[in-house]
Subunit: 194 residues, 2 copies
DNA sequence: GCTTAGCTACCTTCCAGTAGGTAGGCAGTC
DNA sequence: GACTGCCTACCTACTGGAAGGTAGCTAAGC
């Protein structure tokens, strides 16, 4: 029942990997067919068009992210630890190279040439992530566990931007450790009084 | 004598705009030919291959960046003002939408699928920019004009990452002001004692 | 007997790149 | 000053391959 069609999931997983490597125009249905082990038209059977595939993929990605952050809120009480956990997730992804970049961050860089349906999903992810970070910042401030230099909203936007920029630097240098090198001082600044 | 061939320059300028919009695979020789007003094979006359074109473009971009930062060092003495000036440059670019993204930052996001010759140039730009920022941080620290929370190198990498991430956020939100919103607190933290 | 999941064969369009030609400019030379 | 040779900057016409996508078939399963 949950394994109705593993092929569609395989296609989505494969497309995600390919998008993370080179963006929307960096892969084709032929690439996916090769990896998944079916013929090109069979990919169309699962996802009628490329826009359809990528929109579904990003939508699914957003659901996972929202579920993941909800779980984080349930399992970790301290706002500072929540931030550390969030960062740790990406640190691990970048280290083991399974998915060393946020799908939405990569697609956002090509926003001007993205099909509108995909662009909408990407923008929605940015708004959601920034809102979640702002709520963590706000709570951390109220509880005296995070020391903000500006408003929760601005601090959240700065945090998100730095995380995305750190992913980019890690990729540019070909050095997974660069992500942590950049983010750790940021966490320290937020969680220690000065 | 300096206007030997403005067509080659037109092609480079056009390609730069197109890359900023959608990356390496987001444009074609046909797109360039349309904008510049010549036929597609005539583009090949100036740049034998697409790799050739983009490598030249990035190489030229790096030269301009290095010249620009050299001029900044000559004209502005205070390290904090140098950072403000650098940020102000991008703020203006994003605001008037002429080139609202760093060519190398965009290409870096697609590094895994970039032709090696282009990838080399992109990585070199990251190293150069980070080195320049580190030297500014170092000097600012010595002169007591910048207050670093960690080493000059780490502070420089964090600064660069935040600038790149802020470009991405401005694009994702479709809001040029977002860049300044994110970067201003960063400049404040570096230039005021706390 | 309808649905699902795959297939082969094919279409149109676009892609980077090539072949080969033309028109004009600028030497040098008789 | 006309002729020759070469160069630059384009052009038309084309190639091979890859792109996204379609038509219509088969085989299996409930």
């Amino acid at each position: 029942m949950s394994t109705v069609s593993s092929t569609a999931d395989d296609i989505l997983a494969c497309a995600r990997t390919l998008i993370i490597a080179g963006g929307y125009n960096g892969f084709s249905y032929a690439d996916i067919a090769d990896v998944v082990g079916i013929r090109k038209p069979s990919v169309h059977h699962h996802f009628a068009s490329k826009v359809d595939l990528v929109r579904t993929l990003v939508s699914r990605y957003r659901e996972e992210a929202q579920a993941g952050l909800s779980a984080l809120e349930r399992n970790v009480a301290d706002p500072a630890d929540q931030l550390r956990n969030y960062v740790g997730y990406w640190e691990a992804c970048i280290k083991d190279a399974t998915a060393p970049f946020c799908v939405c961050a990569l697609l956002a860089s090509e926003l001007p040439i993205l099909p509108e349906e995909v662009a909408l999903e990407v923008r929605a992810h940015f708004r959601f992530l920034a809102s979640w970070l702002a709520s963590v910042m706000e709570r951390g401030k109220r509880q005296g566990r995070l020391h903000l230099a500006s408003t929760a909203r601005v601090e959240a936007e700065g945090f998100m931007a730095t995380v995305h920029g750190a992913m980019l630097s890690a990729r540019a240098y070909g050095d997974p450790k660069m992500f942590g090198t950049i983010i750790r001082p940021l966490l320290d600044r937020l969680s220690t009084r000065h």
